[in-house]
């Protein structure tokens, strides 16, 4: 309970409907986690919680540390300092118990190519307690791989492998799903399907889902909350709607002389990033500032044809946040 409250305090948000549910179980607690590899701090004091029924998006440019965080979460790599608790059990000291609640895909779900999909699932089923044959069949049905499940994985398409990866992590009915870029390499239909699956699992089975992704527009559609990580630091955690909208909105003002309008705005609001197009200016403003702005336009004799609110996409917002808070992101890709 307490760490959950801490999060909201940190983000300084007002009480909204999702926060009232905070007394629901927190399933994953990431507490001040740091990872140092060969003297380089790759993850720097990252903390966040994920609750039941929530889809948490983990967003960041290449090399930000998403995969590294997920590796620590599932115990593949050690934690330099801090701790990760899964339903109260530490992944460090109580690995077996903690990890038994997790189903995960880390980067690509690599399977044994010389086995059939079904044999792969049998293999993983033997490693968790109480996974029956019926459960395997049911999972195969759920992810829609029934037709090809007895073929060798070697013959699968990328999308089918992703599905098998998903089946593998659902076998033991975990309460937490951790998926590193689950939509990687999928076509739009596949992406949509995964998205619907995840939403369904979170809603109907009350699971906590953590997804990382590059596809920002995807996150927007499937996540409840977003954490932005850059250069190993978690720089923002926000509810999706708050995140996309922020407190300010961007307005487009259609005018007869955009350059004159820009000069005028610069003199009044020197801080604001103002963009000019052929016949409009764009500027971020709070709602209450609109009448004042219009007054200024009228005073300087700029003709206004329209004032429109521009809804920001997550992508705009993401680039804005990462550029503003952390400088330009590294254009680095995994060398694997």
């Amino acid at each position: 309970m307490i760490p959950a409250l801490k999060t909201s305090a940190k983000n300084g948000q007002s009480i909204t409907s999702w926060e009232e549910d905070e007394y629901m179980d927190t399933l994953v607690e990431i507490q001040d986690v740091t990872k140092v590899i060969k003297g380089r701090t790759i993850i720097d004091s990252v903390s966040f919680d994920v609750k039941k029924g929530e889809v948490f998006g983990f967003l960041g440019p290449n090399g930000a540390g998403k995969t590294t965080t997920i590796r620590m979460l599932v115990g593949l790599i050690g934690i330099t300092s801090g701790d990760i608790k899964i339903l109260g059990s530490s992944i460090k000291t109580d690995f077996e118990k903690a990890v038994s609640h997790i189903g995960a895909i880390v980067e690509n779900p690599e399977m044994y190519k010389f086995l059939s999909g079904y044999q792969n699932l049998i293999h993983y089923a033997r490693m968790s307690k109480g996974v029956t044959k019926e459960k395997i069949d049911e999972t195969v049905e759920l992810i829609g791989l029934t037709d090809r499940i007895h073929d060798k994985v070697r013959t699968y398409s990328l999308g089918m492998r992703q599905r098998l990866g998903l089946a593998q992590c659902l076998l033991h009915d975990p309460q937490i799903l951790v998926l590193d870029e689950p939509t990687n390499g999928l076509d739009p239909a596949g992406i949509r399907e995964i998205r619907d699956h995840l939403r369904m699992l979170a809603r109907d089975r009350d699971m906590a889902v953590i997804v990382s992704s590059h596809l920002l527009s995807e996150m927007e559609m499937m996540c409840d909350r977003i954490g932005i990580i850059q250069n190993g630091k978690l720089i923002d955690v926000q509810h999706i709607n708050d995140f996309v909208q922020g407190n300010e909105k961007v307005y487009e003002v259609e005018v007869d002389d955009p350059d004159k309008a820009q000069r005028m705005l610069k003199s009044i609001y020197p801080e604001l990033p103002i963009q000019v197009t052929e016949n409009s200016v764009f500027l971020p403003l709070v709602r209450d500032g609109i009448p004042e702005m219009i007054k200024e336009f009228v005073r300087t004799d700029v003709k206004i044809f329209a004032v429109r609110e521009v809804t920001k996409t997550l992508e705009d917002r993401f680039l804005e946040v990462t550029e503003f808070k952390g400088g330009a992101g590294h254009a680095r890709t995994d060398s694997k």
């Binding site: 115990g75 050690g78 044994y112």
Partner: protein, 319 residues
């Protein structure tokens, strides 16, 4: 644990390479059988009823050589001669002819040379069983199960040992079958004679061969354990297999060379893995005993295991 071993077994036997190994072993045994069968002197007994006299003269000549050379005689030659003399005397006293008919036992004993190949295949499996998971990328999904890494590695090691035992059983069983078919059983049971600690003792042939297989496999077991360790520590199957095979072919020779000059060669693994040297030959370095060798083997075994388990347990998996 049984489930884990079952998993590893499945991963070995769902790959065609495994069947090639078993097939090769069977083919080599068959070829050896055919070769011996159709060799001219193959199945016939040397026609020599005067064998007692022969052994007598042999002993006399050994004795003479030893006396002539006196202090000059090399240690291993002396021990070799003493052993021969003792065995010959025993044969004459107990009326056990050295001219046994070539039978199933002779064949099984001959094919024990092929244990080296069983060892080679076991090393290939041992070298790949951990490293392959890293190259396939499957290690990630393997290690996020609610099972301690120690158990996963333990199951893998046990699987390697089971695989080695299976190859030995296949080799022994098939050799016995083929030997029985091609050469038949001897008319009367001939005991096997061995010389240990200055006395000659008798042992039944079947028991002797099983012990013989067991002792000959120790070298292979240790090399497979080493390959397994390298596989777990360096995650590199080529290194594990390459180095172990190199040592399998060269380790004994190199140790023998060192042993000619230096005493410390007796601490080398390869001076100790051949326990047959205490029954059928001469220890590589003077003063080595069976207990010393067993101790050495155990220490190396523990060293390999501790290294493998320690590193595998601590390792950050970012494959």
């Amino acid at each position: 644990m049984p489930g884990l071993i079952q998993n590893e077994w499945m991963k070995i036997f769902r790959r065609p390479g495994t069947y090639v190994m078993i097939g090769l072993l069977l083919i080599m045994t068959t070829v050896a059988g055919a070769f011996i069968k159709y060799q001219e002197s193959g199945g016939t007994v040397p026609d020599n009823t005067e064998w007692k006299r022969g052994l007598q003269t042999q002993n006399e000549s050994y004795q003479k050589q030893l006396e002539e050379m006196g202090e000059m005689v090399p240690r291993d030659m002396k021990e070799q001669y003493q052993r021969e003399i003792a065995l010959n005397k025993y044969r004459i006293q107990h009326d056990i002819s050295p001219n046994e008919e070539y039978s199933i036992w002779g064949f099984v004993s001959d094919t024990s040379q092929l244990i080296e190949f069983a060892g080679l295949f076991t090393i290939i499996i041992a070298g790949g069983i951990v490293a392959s998971e890293f190259t396939w990328g499957t290690i990630k999904l393997l290690l996020i199960r609610p099972i301690k890494r120690v158990k996963i590695l333990g199951a893998k090691y046990i699987t390697v040992i089971l695989f080695g035992l299976m190859l030995l059983a296949v080799l022994f069983g098939y050799s016995a079958l083929l030997g029985g078919l091609l050469f038949g059983f001897p008319e009367k049971a001939i005991p096997y004679l061995y010389y240990y600690n200055g006395t000659v003792q008798e042992q039944s042939m079947g028991l002797h061969l099983i012990a013989y297989y067991g002792l000959k496999s120790i070298n292979m077991l240790m090399l497979a354990t080493m390959a397994f360790m390298i596989s777990a520590v360096f995650r590199n199957s080529s290194l594990a297999i390459g180095l172990s095979l190199f040592l399998m072919f060269m380790g004994g020779q190199v140790t023998r060379l060192i042993a000619m000059k230096y005493d410390w060669a007796k601490y080398s693994l390869f001076a100790n893995t051949d326990l047959l040297q205490y029954y059928e030959g001469v220890p590589m370095v003077q003063g080595m005993t069976l207990g010393f060798s067993i101790m050495n083997i155990l220490i190396y075994f523990l060293l390999f295991q501790v290294l493998a388990f320690y590193v595998f347990n601590k390792r950050d998996v970012s494959a």
